[in-house]
Structures are given as structure tokens and as C-alpha cells.
């Protein structure tokens, strides 16, 4: 971290032989020169990242407001009692389904982000890896 100004040349040198296409693009990118606009991603990394973000977001919207909207539209079928668990369907989808979906999505996203970092040849510090070892399921 001591010498950011010569970052791109350094990386190019170290990555030289092993770099995948994405990692090469990463070392070629000047992140401080690329515009940030959520609607118009300007770097390959951000394009890939936003693809993950928006997919997760779409699923999340359905998980949060889907059940309640369906209940509004079709109260009959949605309030039926579920087999085995005994919940009215709408109640279960909201009280248990929504928080659980968010948790699963959060886990999914963090895994995806880690995979994305790997694809682009980005390594987080060693201290970081050590603390994550036990934490990461």
C-alpha cells in the first residue's frame, strides 16, 4: 500500500504470466479515472459487480413485497393453511420467508463478491484471511 502511484505498472509486472483476461483488465483499469454512476458502470469490474447487485436486488424485491402483494390480490389462496407447519401461507412467507431470504441473499452476495475478487485477481490482506477462516462457513 505504500506506493499507489505506480500501481498499474507494478501489477502488470507481477501479474504478467498468470493473469486471466479479467485480471489483465483489472490491472489495465485506472479506477480513479473511471466515472461512478450506478446506471452507467464504466469499468469491467463494476459492470460485473452491478450485475450481481441488480440480480440480488430483483430477488430481494420479490421476497419482501411479493407475498404481501399476492395476498392483496388473491387473499383466498394466500391465507390457506399450509400442510405440516400449519401456518397460513401468507403469514409464513412474511414472518419467516422474508428475513430468511434476506439472509440467504446476503450470504450469496458475499460469496459472489469473493468469487468476483478472485476472478479479477484481487487478494485481500493476510490478516483479513486469517480472521475469515473461522468465520466463513
Amino acid at each position: 500500500m505504500t506506493d499507489n502511484s505506480s500501481r498499474s505498472s507494478d501489477d502488470a509486472a507481477t501479474d504478467g504470466g498468470v493473469a486471466t483476461g479479467a485480471a489483465q483488465k483489472h490491472s489495465d483499469t485506472d479506477y480513479l479515472g473511471a466515472e461512478v454512476n450506478i446506471l452507467n458502470p464504466s469499468t469491467p469490474y463494476m459492470r460485473d459487480h452491478l450485475r450481481i447487485v441488480w440480480s440480488g436486488f430483483a430477488v430481494w424485491v420479490l421476497a419482501v413485497w411479493g407475498p404481501v402483494t399476492l395476498t392483496r390480490l388473491a387473499p383466498g389462496p394466500m391465507t390457506n393453511q399450509m400442510p405440516i407447519l400449519g401456518f397460513p401461507l401468507h403469514y409464513f412467507l412474511v414472518a419467516f420467508g422474508a428475513p430468511t431470504s434476506a439472509l440467504i441473499l446476503a450470504f450469496w452476495y458475499s460469496r459472489k463478491r469473493d468469487a468476483l475478487d478472485e476472478k479479477y485477481g484481487i487478494e485481500h490482506g493476510t490478516a483479513d484471511v486469517a480472521t475469515d477462516g473461522g468465520a466463513d462457513e
Binding site: 500500500m1 454512476n37 469490474y45 436486488f57 430481494w60 392483496r72 391465507t79 403469514y91 484481487i122 483479513d128
Partner: protein, 599 residues
């Protein structure tokens, strides 16, 4: 807060709750507070750097627990089950809003905030938009959020305190038993907080999380088991009970409209992403990856409680209907009784005092943990963002800490007064703070992070609009309850379409449009600001103590050239730090000393 006649109107004594002094539970609470203070003393702090971010040395799981403890307030522990019991399906808005928001926080803000690397929410707003006015508005908002949010906590602490310590109505002239308990509990909380800064608080919060989640979940298991409701998984087994509870418990849109449901969840979700005491957790971790994973852990720890709360509400409702009187219909369960339904459920199960005391003590732990986070965010807004950055730039360490402590006392006093005769349920009171965070801070974080052209004028216009729009439904619905001669709400139409608890559904899009339009109509922000935003999105890893500003300052010739000028502005200390950091990480100790001197 003038006449005692107003104060005496409070009738917040929950029926059916066994209000008396109990030795075992009292010792539990005192022991718990003693433990907190001991930990606070062991990890006591002397300088502000430690106080605000606890040295950035906290890992995934511990930070996740701290997120959980910060999050799980009396509103989650008591208020949520209360709303689910009384308002049925509408009560679930809290379960949904207060968990799913973390995903939005994770995908849009957590890692970027860590990379930005500022201490507080106002710091972010002030530095991102290069404006002390913006910083001041954000600081005032942070303070207001702490205040509104804490009212609900004070109410929760006091109601649970009644069960443990009994009714001391009249001990302070003019105050009833509930009100005396509000004063007592707030004095304890403020006393504790003024002794300990954030390092102590963070260590505490991991301990507090463990205490309160055990108290809640063990309470749920035992109540479910002794009454034959459930065996090993009450979080799913309560489903079988729902059909016996009366249609009010689960019938959709019985007590509220679809619109209100959606507006409330929306508001709670965006509020989650804008709450300063939540966001501050992301500055305390060593890397953005830790920021991400500790969000996942935090959400998991939170979900444990949120899966359990509806089950507790179902058990409590059934026990209340069987042993006291029907929960629904006329007269039904009072709101005061519903607020302590978690404790009531344990008590009505015939469990021994000490066991009910554990459940009750968990409620107090939940409230204290949250008030700790809130008041620290609120007081740092005052001492760091308003006092040091705007009023007295040469403030010494000692002066800063003094101002910080005084603002904690001020927050405590304001909260106590407002909680003596609270306007709404615990969950709703807390919900108003979420509307505020979602209306003012979230749009600034989101646009500031994801659109580099958002500028100072846009932020000022947006935040002012947000504050104004948020206060409309508050004045309409809440303020009248504190003024004897007025009837709430002043306008039913406004209350229907822009409810105080769900106002962000209206305010957020307006604030977005205003901020974007004004930003486009005025000059773009400076290249340096844009580069800082870009650095927040770069995948390049950053050092543990590094901020986006440091990297940008160290990168490229043009910035080095302007560095001399930059050191003159309010970021002087940080500017120095940036250069030092980039030059040599080993000289950190020396560097710190410099920073402290200059702060």
C-alpha cells in the same frame, strides 16, 4: 414539559404483570449492569480515536454480534412481539423491515463506506459534499435520530423495570410508577455511558448480544415447552397455534391497509440503511471484506431473534387469552400489557421469578445496548462534527471528550422527558427514527456513493427537503399528543397517505429527485471528490487504517501538488495522516500522536 398534570396522565401500568420488588431478578439486573461497567472500566478509553472507532481491530463475528446488539433494541425484544400480538399481520412489518434492509445495506453501502473510511455519518456527508453545512445538517439529524429512537428504549426499560423493581409511584412528586422507573433507568444508562466510550461499548455489545439472545431464546423454548406449544423448534412450531388465536392474529389487512403495510416496510428498510449507529459499525472493521461478512453475520444474529419474536407473540397471546381475559375484542389487551408480552408470557407460564427475571433482564440489556450505540453516535455528531469541525477547530482532546459527555447527558435528559408520557408504542416510536434516517441520510449515502456528480448544492437541497417532509407527518400525528389541547392527527388525509411511520415512501423519491435535479443544474463536484468516490468502488484492497481520501491524495502528481493547500482546511489532521500513512505504515505510532495533538 410544564405542568405535572400532563405528566400524571400517563397510565402505563401493564395489567396482569406482577409488579413488585423481586430480589433474584433485581440482583440479575444489578449484576448485569455491574458487569457492563466493569468491562467498560477495563476497556476505558482516553483518546477520541479509540472512542469513535475502537481502533478498527474488530473481526467478523465480533462485529456481527455488535451489529446485532446495536440493532436489537427494546423495539426488537419487546416492541415487535407487542405489535405482532396487538396488530396481527401488520405487526410483521417490523420483522420484515428490520431484517431485509440489511441486504440493501450490504449490496449498496457496507464495503464502500468502509473504503470511504470516515468516522461518523456526518463525517461522510461533510467530506463527500465538501460542506460544513451539510455536515451540520447530518449531525443534527443524527442527534434527532438518537433522541427519537431512544424514547422507545426508555419506555421499554421502564416497563420491564416495573416487573423487577416494583412500583415507586410518588417517590418523585407528580410522577407515577412507570415515570419514576423511566427516570431511574435513564440515569443508570447515562451514568454508564459517560464512563465508557466506544471501545468499552463494543466489547460490551458482544457480551450484551449473547446475554439478550440467550435470555430471549431460552425464554421462548421454556415457555413453549412448559405449555406444550412446542418442543425443539418453536420458531416453526407456533404455526399450528395460529388457527386457535382468533382471526385478528393473522388476518391480512384487518387493522391496516396494504398501502400502510408497504409504506411502513419501505420506510423501515431505507431507515436501516441510513441509521448512523448502524453505519458506524462498518468503519470499525479492518477491511471491506470484513465489512461484508460481518454484515452477513450481523443479519444472522439478528434473524435468530426475529424468527423467534412472532412465536413469542403467539404464545403470549394464547396465554393471555386463557389466563387473564380475551386478547382481542372489548376491552382486549391494553397496549401497556402488550409491550411486555414477552415477560408476561414467561410469568403467565408459572415459571419461577428468577427465570422470568432472566427474560426481563434481557429486555433491559437490549435497551441499554442500543441506547449506548445511539448516544455515542449522537454525542460524536455534536462533539466531533459540530463542535470540533465548525465551532472550535483547535479543540483539545479534553474539550472534545467533555463536549461529548455533556451531549450524552443532554440526550439522556431530553429522552427522559419525552418518555414520561410517550406518544406511541415502542416499535412505532423507533419507526419514526427510521423514517427520518431514510428521508435524510440514506439518499445522501446512496447518491453520494453511487453517483459521483452529486454535489454540495444537491445534498443541501435534498437534506433540507428530507427534514422538512419528515417533520410534516410528525407534527400532524405526534406533536399533538404532547400538547393537551390538540387532537391527533391534525389531518386524517395526510395521516393516511403520508403516515409518520411510513413517510419515507413519499419523502425518499422526492429527496432523490431534488438532489439529482439541483446537482445537474449546478457545477459538478471537484475532480478530487470524484476520485474519492471512484476509490470507494475500486476493487483494489486498501490498508487497515487507510481511507479513500488517503489513497487519492497519494495517487497521481496533481493531488500531491495540491496537498499543501488541502492541509489548511478542516481535514488538516487527516491530510497529515494520509501522507504519513502512505509514506510509512510503521511510523503509525508517531503519526497517531501527531493526529491526536492536532485534533
Amino acid at each position: 414539559m410544564k405542568a405535572s398534570s400532563i405528566l400524571l396522565q400517563s397510565e402505563l401500568l401493564p395489567e396482569a404483570l406482577d409488579i413488585s420488588f423481586k430480589v433474584g431478578p433485581a440482583l440479575l439486573v444489578i449484576g448485569m449492569l455491574g458487569l457492563f461497567l466493569t468491562i467498560g472500566f477495563v476497556f476505558r478509553v482516553a483518546d477520541t480515536e479509540d472512542m469513535w472507532v475502537a481502533g478498527r481491530s474488530i473481526g467478523n463475528v465480533e462485529n456481527g454480534m455488535a451489529i446485532g446488539a446495536n440493532w436489537m433494541s427494546a423495539a426488537s425484544y419487546l416492541g415487535m412481539a407487542a405489535s405482532i400480538a396487538l396488530a396481527g399481520f401488520y405487526g410483521l412489518v417490523y420483522v420484515v423491515g428490520w431484517t431485509t434492509g440489511y441486504f440493501i445495506l450490504l449490496i449498496f453501502l457496507a464495503a464502500q463506506l468502509r473504503r470511504f473510511g470516515k468516522y461518523t455519518a456526518p463525517d461522510f456527508v461533510g467530506d463527500r459534499f465538501n460542506s460544513d453545512t451539510a455536515r451540520a445538517i447530518a449531525a443534527v439529524t443524527t442527534f434527532l435520530i438518537g433522541f427519537v429512537y431512544a424514547i422507545g428504549q426508555a419506555k421499554g426499560m421502564a416497563l420491564v423495570g416495573l416487573y423487577i423493581f416494583g412500583n415507586y409511584g410518588g417517590l418523585i412528586p407528580g410522577l407515577d410508577g412507570y415515570q419514576v422507573m423511566v427516570v431511574a433507568m435513564m440515569v443508570v444508562t447515562v451514568g454508564y455511558l459517560t464512563l465508557s466510550g466506544m471501545l468499552g461499548a463494543t466489547k460490551n455489545q458482544a457480551v450484551q448480544y449473547v446475554i439478550l439472545i440467550l435470555a430471549f431464546v431460552v425464554g421462548l423454548f421454556v415457555v413453549g415447552y412448559t405449555n406444550g406449544y412446542s418442543t425443539v423448534l418453536p420458531q416453526l412450531e407456533y404455526g399450528m397455534l395460529i388457527s386457535e388465536l382468533g382471526s385478528e392474529f393473522s388476518e391480512p389487512f384487518a387493522s391496516s391497509s396494504y398501502y400502510l403495510w408497504v409504506a411502513t416496510t419501505f420506510s423501515l428498510i431505507v431507515g436501516t440503511c441510513g441509521l448512523p449507529h448502524v453505519l458506524v459499525r462498518f468503519y470499525t472493521v479492518e477491511s471491506e471484506r470484513t465489512a461484508r461478512w460481518s454484515t452477513v453475520w450481523g443479519l444472522f444474529f439478528i434473524c435468530i431473534l426475529y424468527w423467534s419474536a412472532p412465536a413469542f407473540a403467539a404464545f403470549g397471546t394464547d396465554l393471555y387469552s386463557q389466563t387473564v381475559s380475551p386478547t382481542y375484542g372489548d376491552p382486549g389487551m391494553t397496549s401497556a400489557a402488550s409491550e411486555v408480552i414477552v415477560v408476561l408470557a414467561a410469568q403467565l407460564s408459572g415459571l419461577p421469578d428468577w427465570f422470568v427475571g432472566i427474560v426481563a433482564a434481557g429486555g433491559i440489556a437490549a435497551a441499554i445496548a442500543t441506547v449506548a450505540g445511539l448516544f455515542i453516535a449522537g454525542s460524536s455528531a455534536i462533539s466531533h462534527d459540530i463542535y470540533t469541525n465548525i465551532i472550535n477547530e483547535d479543540a483539545t482532546q479534553r474539550q472534545q471528550i467533555l463536549v461529548g459527555r455533556l451531549s450524552i447527558v443532554a440526550l439522556g435528559a431530553l429522552t427522559t422527558l419525552a418518555a414520561l408520557n410517550p406518544a406511541s408504542s415502542i416499535a412505532a416510536l423507533v419507526g419514526y427514527a427510521f423514517s427520518l434516517a431514510g428521508s435524510v441520510l440514506f439518499p445522501m449515502f446512496f447518491l453520494g456513493m453511487w453517483w459521483e456528480n452529486a454535489n454540495r448544492q444537491g445534498a443541501l437541497a435534498g437534506m433540507t427537503t428530507g427534514l422538512t417532509l419528515w417533520s410534516l407527518p410528525m407534527i400532524n400525528q405526534i406533536v399533538p399528543t404532547y400538547i393537551g389541547s390538540l387532537e391527533a392527527p391534525l389531518s386524517t388525509g395526510l395521516a393516511t397517505w403520508m403516515p409518520a411511520i411510513g413517510s419515507a415512501l413519499i419523502t425518499l423519491p422526492v429527496v432523490f429527485v431534488v438532489t439529482i435535479a439541483v446537482s445537474m443544474a449546478t457545477d459538478e463536484p471537484s475532480l478530487e471528490t470524484k476520485r474519492i468516490v471512484r476509490q470507494c468502488h475500486s476493487p483494489e484492497p486498501m490498508g487497515q487504517q487507510e481511507t479513500a481520501e488517503d489513497v487519492v491524495a497519494a495517487d497521481g502528481g496533481e493531488d500531491v501538488a495540491t496537498d499543501g493547500g488541502r492541509a489548511v482546511d478542516d481535514a488538516a489532521a487527516e491530510g497529515d495522516r494520509a501522507v504519513d500513512d502512505a509514506a510509512a505504515d510503521e511510523s503509525r505510532a508517531v503519526d497517531d500522536a501527531t493526529t491526536e495533538e492536532e485534533r
